[in-house]
Every structure is written in C-alpha cells, then in structure tokens.
C-alpha cells in the first residue's frame, strides 16, 4: 500500500496560494510589496527558524494568498533559507503548499534565473515567469524576445519593472485569472535516475514525477517529515541501485545550463554598449582601502546620531504620555488593587515596550535604506576579513551595529547569515554590545565612581562611558572567539555574496519594512515585558502580612502638624519599608549571601532581580529602595542619595568606588533583558540557546564583577 507523505489540504475553488520565488536581488520583495501593500503578515515556517511573509489579497471575486519565499539560486538547499524553498516546492510543508508558482527572473541575469525556473518546471508545478528589472537590462544592452522564450519554456511570461510599477497590473491580472501553466519537464530526468528506483519511490510516497522522487532521495537524510523506517528504506534503495547521487547532481547542473544556453541563443539579444557601469565607478569609491572604511564610519556615526539624538524627542513624548495616562487612570478609577495593577503594572509595562519604537523604527529605516541601495553587501565585503578570526563574518556586522541601539532588532537581523554556525555565534554575542537600556545605569554609576575631572582635554566621566562601549565590543570579540573554538558544527564557513547594482532606495518599501518590523517587535517583545511587569508588580506590592505590619509599625508616624518635609520623608520611609517586607524584598535578602562577594547588599539584590526583566528598571527600583521620593526621573537626586547611603552595621559607604565599578561591569555583561531572551527563543526555535546564553552571560558578569570588586576594595 502506498504511503501518503503529506496529505494536501483540500484547496477551495475560490482561494488559492501563489508562491513567489526567485534569485536574491531580483526585485521579488518589491513585487510582493506592490501586490500586497500593508496586508502582510509574518509567520514562521514550521520546524525552521525563518520567517514567512504572506498576505491574503482580493482580486475581483477571488481571494489569493501570496507567499514570499526566501531568495535562492537553486532548489537544492545551501542554507536554511533555501531549505524552505526546497520543502515548500516539494509539497513537504503541507501548511504552505502552493497551487501556483510565480518565478521572478532578473532580465540582466537570465541564465542564472532560468536555472531555477527550469528546476521548478521539472517539479511539474503550474507556473508563470516574470522578467523583472527591465531597466537594468536595457542599460546593459540586453533585450529578451519573450515570444521565443515562451515557445521554449511553455509557460506564460510577463515583462516588468517593479520599481516603476510597470507590469504589476499584468501580474495581478495573471494571478486573478489563474493563467499559470503546467510545463513539460525541461530535462529528461529518466536519464539521470534509474527507472526502477524512481518508480519504487514514486509509488511508495505517491509522488507525481521522477524529479520529485529524485529530490526526495537526494535529501531524505535530513527530511524531518520522514520517519526512521522511511529513511532507512530510501537509504537501502539507494545502496541497492548503486546510484551516485552527487555525481548525478553535477551532471544535472551541466545539462541544465547547456539547455538554457541554447534557448538564450535565440531568445536573447545582446549589444555591447561599451560603457563603464556607474556601479563599477561607485565601487572604486565605496570599496577604497581607506576611503571605504572612512565612508562606512561616517554612515555609522549618522545612524548613532539618529538612534540616540533624533529618537530622544519622540521617546520623551511617549514616556510623558504613559506617565500622564497612568495618573489620569488613577484619578478616574476608584482606588483599589485593580487600579493599582493597571496604573503601576500594566500601563508602565506597555509604556516600557512602546518607548523603544522610535529607536527601532529609525534603525530599521536605516538598515532598509542601506540594504535597498545595495550598500549593505559592500559592508559585508569590507568587514569579512576583519571579523573572520573571531568566528564571525562580514554579515555579522549589521546585527552588532543594531545591538548598540537594542539587541532585539540586531538578533532579528541575523537571518541574512546563511551559515548556521556564524549566525548562532552572532546571536549569542549581540546582547553584549552596550545597548541603550544600559545607558541610564552607566550614567548614574559612573557619576558615583568617577570624579568629574579632566585628563588633558578629556572629561574622565566621558572617557569612562566610552570605555564601557569598548568593553562591550571586546567582550563580543572574545566570546565569539571562544564560541568558535567550542561549537563543533560540520558546516564550513564560506562567503558567497552577490553585490547588486547601486540603486536609489524605494521609499515605500523602506516604510513597509519599518512598519512591519516594528509591529513584529511590539508584539513579540511586548507580551514578555508586560507579563514580567505584572509579576514584578505583584511581588513588590505584596508580602507576608505579619512581616509587613511589623516593618510599618517600626516607623514613627509624624504629627499632623509636622512640616511637609517630614511628612514626605515619612511617606518615602513607608514605601521603602513596604518594599523591604514584600516578596521581592524577601527575595533580595535571600540572595544577599551570593552577591556579598561582589560588594552588594540586599537592596542592590532587589534591583538585580527586578532588572533581570529589563536593565532600565534598575533606576526606578533603586530610586524607590533608597526612598528618593517620587521623582525618579531626576538622576542627580538618585546619585546624591546613593553617595550618602551608609551601611548601618559597618558605618561605611554602601556605594564606594569598588561597589560602583563592580555594578557597572555586572550590568555590562549580564543577560538582563526578557525581550532579548524571547527573541533568541524565537530565532533559535527552542530554549537551549537562550538558556546557555543566560548562563554564560550571568557567569561572565558575576566573575568580572567579583574580580573588579576584589581588585578595587
């Protein structure tokens, strides 16, 4: 009896799925954006760590799902991105089984584009071809005789120039009318695969044709949908037939290119315009051995300026908005536990996520522009050799730069890295870059530990801050190097990057990317931050009632006639005592012995626990703990208060130089960001790597902080 590998879902008449597929940089994303606008959704392909972009659109009376597949050169996978394409096209991914394929080809690079097209033809899927980037082809004197090409391939062909919107109407009409055609096979696969073997596989797995059988046996070792007995059966069949599959694949590649070349002889018209391309001239500037790095540094400075300075205004507005929203809701609702939860837990929790939107949106806009203009692959080219000794590669630069604003978009940006080992190392080290949430912590602690004096023209405090950023970079390189030595993957590191033509950015596409990435961030990180904020609020607001009463009873209640200052002082003492006797206060006391060697008391312990969710929580926690009063925004006040804090037992300053430096170093290295962990979980599809990351970063933080404290005290 034949085994059913993947029961295809019954597709209703009115709705169908069209998969967009093509080489990288052929304008596939532009076509996708033009067809779908802002209806795009991002999901995950089952079982792999790559995002799938899809959108449901309405065309006349019909509804269609457009699926954007990662760019690939072949249906034989070389990277994780390409595994997706392989699985979707072979119908192994039942959730995303396409009814039709729309193959996009760069007109100025037909040979390589058709290589992929003819592979899809051999799979027997109904398809159509879009010849895109007409303008680039024209510039290089290339013309395609579409009719001749149609005759050779037997599938509908549309010419387009998606950047200028040309041909988009034609593409959507084609989809609406389902004018896809099922091509006849391009190669005679029977010549490649022994007939008995092919028939046996086709029958067992109910496959339509020989090429699918060939694909299955070629990749059966790593196909998660097969069970152990099925895999063994395939391996057995392969051995029995004595068939050399690698050799066959090379043979197939050569035959395919030969066939394509003969088609292009009639279908392609080339005139040598003898012009030096603008792109080549620009490359001699952007890739210059000194100038290239100077330009790159300049671009980085502009991005930093934007992320830190320009986004400060909207961030302050958002901050103010949520503060007044909290106050307004507190007035509006009757006093009680629920109101407290909303005003002290939920609203600040949401605010804590939303405040990062300006930074993230700006960063994605810049990254989008750099990618879209073709500059990003030049950065990869410039940086590859420098990053390599550390186990990173040229493509790791983008995530690391993003990490200076926030590790979350950085980790999301690692998807460009095809090589899993390089990508994993980049994910593991990106949170060590000094992100913007560390900045307020650094500012306060450096203010305590470093005198505001000058060495020559340099302000010592500013130097210390710069030192913290450099410390982050050193930690990144050192840790990557260690990981490179430890991680034992068979995969060999390589770099094969196409450097596309320089182009003006497509602003609409940049905006769509900015919007959809920010949305993903808000929903992915938001859930975690919100949950943690609520839990923290509960732990900080409640405690065993006996301990609470005892703590409050010990504070002297001032007379009604006492001056306002005394009244305020009483209120803050009360808040402090309540926190001390709360569950989180008890937890702080509980961990005190373990953090004593670092120079911390139980109050700092509470701050460590609360800021495990997010570093910036440190400032507000410390402010409450040391009863600074209600205005937690005033960093100077916190600093003065901390400096004068004295240990009641020893009579010594709590925040001496050693403790302050030890804390700075702890905050530089510790994994105190739930949202980052959530994103690492999402990107690596499991708890293994986020747990390893938390353990190594916390250990690094602990040991370094301990060493600093012991050295300085």
């Amino acid at each position: 009896m034949p085994e059913v590998l993947t029961p295809a879902p019954s597709t209703q008449q009115s709705t169908f799925t069209v998969a967009l597929i093509g080489n990288p940089n052929v304008g596939k994303t532009t076509i996708f954006n033009r067809l779908t606008g802002l209806r795009q959704k991002v999901g995950n392909y089952p079982g792999v760590t790559v995002d799938k972009r899809f959108a449901h659109i309405k065309l006349g009376q019909r509804e269609a799902t457009i699926l954007d597949l990662p760019g690939t050169y072949s249906i034989y996978p070389n990277s994780e991105d390409e595994v997706i394409v392989h699985r979707v096209l072979n119908g192994l991914d039942k959730e995303n089984k396409p009814d039709f394929v729309l193959a996009v080809v760069d007109m100025s690079s037909m040979e390589r584009g058709l290589f992929l097209v003819t592979q899809i033809m051999d799979l027997g899927l109904p398809m159509a071809v879009v010849l895109n980037m007409e303008d680039a082809a024209e510039e290089q004197g290339i013309k395609v005789k579409t009719h001749a090409l149609y005759q050779a391939l037997g599938v509908p062909i549309i010419q387009s120039n998606a950047r200028s919107n040309k041909g988009i109407k034609g593409i959507s009409d084609l989809i609406e009318q389902k004018m896809f055609e099922k091509p006849s096979p391009f190669l005679n696969i029977q010549e490649l695969l022994p007939k008995e073997l092919s028939l046996a596989i086709q029958e067992k797995f109910q496959l339509d044709n020989t090429y699918q059988a060939y694909q299955l046996i070629r990749f059966h070792e790593n196909e998660p949908l097969l069970d152990e007995t099925q895999r063994e059966w395939l391996t057995n069949q392969l051995e029995l037939s004595g068939f050399d599959i690698k050799k066959t694949q090379l043979e197939e590649t050569q035959q395919r290119y030969k066939g394509i070349q003969s088609i292009l002889e009639t279908a392609l018209q080339k005139t040598d315009l003898g012009r030096k391309r603008l792109t080549d001239k620009l490359d001699s500037i952007f890739l210059h051995k000194i100038g290239g790095y100077a330009i790159f540094t300049g671009i980085l400075l502009v991005i930093f300026q934007a992320v830190f300075a320009w986004s400060a205004v909207p961030m302050d507005l958002i901050d103010g908005f949520f503060a007044s929203l909290s106050a307004a809701v507190a007035k509006l609702l009757p006093a009680g536990v629920l109101t407290d939860l909303i005003t002290e837990g939920i609203i600040p929790g949401i605010g804590g996520v939303v405040i990062f939107i300006p930074q993230i949106a700006l960063l994605f806009a810049f990254l989008g522009i750099l990618e879209d203009t073709g500059y990003m692959s030049r950065v990869v080219f410039l940086m590859d050799r420098i990053m390599r000794p550390f186990g990173l590669n040229g493509k790791s630069v983008v995530p690391l730069i993003s990490g200076i604003a926030c590790a979350i978009p950085g980790i999301m940006a690692t998807r460009n890295i095809g090589n899993w080992k390089d990508r994993l190392i980049t994910i593991m080290v990106t949170p060590l870059m000094s992100c913007s949430a560390r900045l307020p912590v650094y500012v306060i602690l450096i203010g305590i530990a470093v005198p505001e004096s000058y060495i020559g023209p340099f302000n010592m405090q500013a130097l210390a801050l710069l030192g913290m950023y450099l410390l982050g970079i050193v930690a990144v390189l050192f840790t990557s190097w260690i990981l490179k030595l430890i991680l034992n993957f068979k995969e060999k590191s390589y770099l094969m990057v196409e450097m596309p033509l320089y182009r003006l950015p497509r602003w609409k596409d940049v905006l769509i990317t900015m919007y959809s990435k920010s949305k993903t961030f808000v929903f992915a990180a938001g859930k975690v931050i919100l949950t943690i904020s609520v839990i923290l609020w509960v732990l900080a607001s409640y405690g065993p009632s006996s301990a609470r009463e005892e703590a409050i009873a010990n504070i002297e209640v001032p007379a009604n006639t006492a001056p306002q200052e005394v009244q305020d002082d009483y209120q803050s003492q009360l808040a402090s005592a309540e926190l001390e006797s709360s569950y989180i206060g008890i937890m702080g006391k509980f961990i005190e012995p373990t953090i004593k060697p670092l120079g911390y008391d139980w109050k700092i312990g509470i701050a460590l626990i609360t800021s495990f969710a997010a570093r910036e929580v440190f400032v507000s926690t410390i402010a409450t703990l040391y009863s600074v009063g209600t205005d937690v925004e005033d960093e100077l006040t916190i600093q003065q208060k901390l400096e004068s804090e004295v240990n009641p037992q020893t009579g010594e300053k709590v925040f001496n130089l050693a403790t302050a430096f030890s804390l700075i170093v702890f905050y530089a290295f510790a994994m105190q960001c739930m949202s980052t962990l959530a994103v690492v979980y999402r990107e690596t599809k499991g708890w293994k790597w986020p747990i390893i990351q938390t353990v190594y970063m916390t250990a690094l933080a602990y040991v370094s902080a301990w060493a600093v404290y012991q050295f300085l005290s």
Binding site: F115, H288, R385
Partner: protein, 75 residues
C-alpha cells in the same frame, strides 16, 4: 593553468573547471561554469574577499573559495 584567486585586478580569465568540494555545486549554481569568462573587479581592502565579475553580476568570494575555480588566464 591557474586559479581564480590569482587573477590580477582588471584582468580576464576563462573558467576551466571547478575543483570538487562541498561548494562545487553552489559555485556552479551561482553561475561559475566551465567556459565562462570572469574578471577580478575589486579586492577588499585587506586583499580578501575578492569581487569577481561574471557576465553581468558581481559576486564576492573569499580567497579560499576562489582557489577552487581553475582558470586559464588571458593576456
């Protein structure tokens, strides 16, 4: 006979064959095929990776990958 990493900047070469390795197929899929003419367009500032022009596309390869491509140098 030489390999692609030894092409001088601005000079052309014809691909003769690809040394068998894990990356052979990948290189061929990118368009590095026997009989194709390639030239070295750019060297990264640290002399690695190298950017080759192949037909109308520019592809960057590390020296180690380029050395898998056997070429006949043109004068």
């Amino acid at each position: 006979m030489s390999t692609a990493d030894k092409i001088e900047q601005g000079k052309m070469a014809v691909i003769d064959s690809i040394t068998p390795s894990e990356l052979t197929l990948h290189l061929m899929e990118m368009g590095f095929l026997p009989g194709k003419r390639i030239s070295l367009l750019q060297k990264a500032p640290l002399k690695d990776p190298l950017a080759f022009k192949l037909e109308n596309t520019v592809i960057a390869l590390r020296k180690s990958e380029a050395s898998l491509i056997n070429v006949k140098l043109e004068n």
